[in-house]
Symmetry: C2
Subunit: 129 residues, 2 copies
């Protein structure tokens, strides 16, 4: 089984757009400043919603939405992770934590503009290959 859609919530979608597309380089699928920003990754999509709009029923889509700071990790090779550290620094996005896990995997953490906790992690955190 595979995950096709992951969701995070952000009220300021313009800020989210600048961040996810401008800094992380994700590809936009759809942008509706009043409700959502949909982004394409390699094998799945990342959906950013304004929870204030999605907690109410909308056609046949059941209400959903959270407040607080969600979490999502992107996979990176060790080299890519180092590149991202530099790229985030250049974009003045603070790396708020860096972890080397007991199995040798590495993670760096940073926030999106809405305060969601994002991570780049080497794939061996969870998978052998």
């Amino acid at each position: 089984m595979q995950i096709l859609e992951s969701a995070l919530y952000a009220e300021d979608l313009e800020a989210a757009r600048n961040f996810y597309e401008g800094i992380l380089g994700l590809q936009e699928i759809t942008y509706d400043a009043s409700r959502h920003l949909f982004l394409r990754l390699e094998t799945s999509v990342l959906l950013l919603f304004r929870a204030s709009k999605t907690v109410v029923p909308d056609a046949d889509v059941p209400p959903h939405g959270t407040v607080g700071h969600g979490h999502l990790a992107f996979s990176a090779t060790p080299t890519e992770l180092d590149d991202w550290k530099k790229r985030l620094k250049d974009a003045r996005v603070p790396v708020i934590s860096e972890i080397e896990w007991p199995n040798g995997a590495r993670s760096i953490y940073f926030n999106d503009p809405a305060g969601n906790v994002l991570e780049f992690a080497t794939r061996n955190l969870w998978f052998r290959t």
Copy 2:
């Protein structure tokens, strides 16, 4: 870029465990009833956290956590989607909505025990292949 970790929040992790493993058939990586349930999918992991435990700093992991109902979609072939409809019905998990999208893709929606809005969607909702 690929998503390595998607996260949802659930305070009752035993209920989550019964649901995600017992009904959806996901494979457990780690279970700590007081804090988290980590589940393995094909190319990524799904992390269920008790937000009441993760909104406070925990070693080097930055605080995160949400209240409300998050969203996640699993991919399914059309045949698998029909199988899931039956399997959810047998497990007395109501399908709360069913959508046929303009491009022919199909989705079914249901809730996990914490009220998160889950979906099975055919891959052509977002990808051509």
